[in-house]
Symmetry: C2
Subunit: 396 residues, 2 copies
Amino acid sequence: MAKINHNFDNLVPNYLFADVSRKTSEFIKANPDRRIIKLGIGDVTLPLAPIVVEAMKHGCDELGKKETFKGYPDYEGYEFARQAVSNYYKSFGVEVSADEILINDGAKSDTSNIGDIFSQDNVVLVTDPVYPVYVDANIMGGRKIIYADCTEENGFCPMPNKEVHADIIYLCSPNNPTGACLNREQLKAWVDYAISNNAVIIYDSAYEAFITQEEYPRSIFEIDGARRCAIEMCSLSKTAGFTGTRCGYTVIPKELTVDDTNLYKLWYRRLSTKFNGVSYPVQCGLKAVFSEEGLKQIKENLSYYQENAKIIADTMTECGIKFTGGINSPYIWFKCPNGMGSWEFFDYMLNQIGVVGTPGEGFGKNGAGWFRLTSFGDRQNTIDAMKLFKQLINNK
Amino acid sequence: MAKINHNFDNLVPNYLFADVSRKTSEFIKANPDRRIIKLGIGDVTLPLAPIVVEAMKHGCDELGKKETFKGYPDYEGYEFARQAVSNYYKSFGVEVSADEILINDGAKSDTSNIGDIFSQDNVVLVTDPVYPVYVDANIMGGRKIIYADCTEENGFCPMPNKEVHADIIYLCSPNNPTGACLNREQLKAWVDYAISNNAVIIYDSAYEAFITQEEYPRSIFEIDGARRCAIEMCSLSKTAGFTGTRCGYTVIPKELTVDDTNLYKLWYRRLSTKFNGVSYPVQCGLKAVFSEEGLKQIKENLSYYQENAKIIADTMTECGIKFTGGINSPYIWFKCPNGMGSWEFFDYMLNQIGVVGTPGEGFGKNGAGWFRLTSFGDRQNTIDAMKLFKQLINNK
């Protein structure tokens, strides 16, 4: 009899977004005339930059002519795409060569599929709260998971505990959901910890484009030693609005070796067996993002979201509410006022002012009593929601 | 210390295409004036149909406008895309509902990643010769692999051996590399075998669009009982020249249950954790393929390849060489003349007439002494190569 992977039985059902959606729908049904503003959304809303659209359309046209038709892409992505990413890294001072870069269809695929090259017999360290993909993918893979607590006390930037051993470490900075950023010193501590444990760091830099303050690294490869212990994965989803376009990149330093095995070669072997590369027009779009004009155009969208984030962060400051993120991040993670629980505050805010966000406890036990808002909404909605929020808090 | 997945150590390096490429390059270097015709290629060469290009470009334009922008796609694909596939199935008499269809980025990804939902403790049956992905992906997953011999005697269509137990069965029909097709009776025998073993068939129908003869099923779901034991995976790579565009589809019947677990739900759980859907413009392209006009346009390319295949097959017939494929398949799999070995014949054909093909033994031990040519080349090259082939064989 075919036997399923019973590690799936250990997945804890997480109905966070389903519950948010159901509660919101019920409220709308019961209050059809009330205005609802959704600031829980993790998806972008602004369109692709014009230069990206043109590049993708040009790519489609090339596929439509015999002389310029493209068949199977290279597993690791076209050289032109990898070179564009390499140049982008260079623009903020990081040397990563094109042959250390692999084009992916989004950071989610690679942060989860990377488990294929690791034994089941590894201890995986993640933060709590956490982006659920790291946890669920490793539960499916049958690995033991341990947690580093992110709390108000450590500013949601946990430091490694030398008493605890881990083999694989997932870090996401700027963080989803907390918006907290690791500075160079903090990240260096993790790199040192990884090296002393012969561990590998899977570094998710999906939100690096939101970093505006110099003291925060945009790549783990800004840190000494990272090339000996880290794999970095990034996505254009938030950088350039590629959530529906699907493209990103993974960086594996050529010299990175664990368990006497070169990880680039191992991952390439996995890719060449289980993947056939990213769509050609999409890779043309990636190249356009990282052109001079492309970077200018995507900056407009990024600035829009950053301004939304600032509006929300400023509101929290004005209301005297503790929060992380808002700067260097599209997420604002704040402490529910008056000791309310995450879901209690969700209901309260929805009922009182019609604003929808995401209860923090959906991301892990340390999220209890915390709440996430995002900057990916419409500007006027964000302004209006924050006006209502201030009234709500001040009238209490 | 991070430990790698040492199942990778069990992969047998297969340098088939690398060796073909190296030998060809060396020959060209030594004989710069000789004309070389490559008929080993497994990639398509004709461009996308105009209606597909237009649909994809329209999709890109939509991503470039706020009103029509699309964020994260549904994990299983857009309803419009799944409905288009469902209608396509209906056009040849197979009822598969849109909610049993999942859009993928090519059959390779899904035929290999499907292992995620199965225990390591399954016996996997593949044919020999075989598309190497099924083997390598399951070696990486640590599963035991057994082989069903495809031989001249069984016309490269092996029947199940009731004495042998398997849990997961990979079938590809029309077959890569042999071009052999399972007829309804043969496929029914496999379905019955799977049901009696409580096994699951992973049915790769990537070449179904090449079937022209009524007696061969285009989907395993033409067979009674298949909905209780089979998952079908298909790709537009060969159907519509999508090798560089990357799109296909997977069908999991809603009622398919093994080990007390619904497989659609299990696979969906895997997808939602480790995948974020297929690029929107690409899905628009898929929809266009399956429109009335789209089917007309892709038929032109298919006919071109089918005519190439016929030219090669007719040549084999004229030369009295045993072969499979050519009809209902883009591949022609023939017995090397005069008892030559696969590589011996490769060298002989390259040296004598400058034609490059693929030695059969690269696909498994039963491929020894056999050879693969493909119909994806240029028409005139195919004609010229076959003229030279005839001279070569007749002059011997």
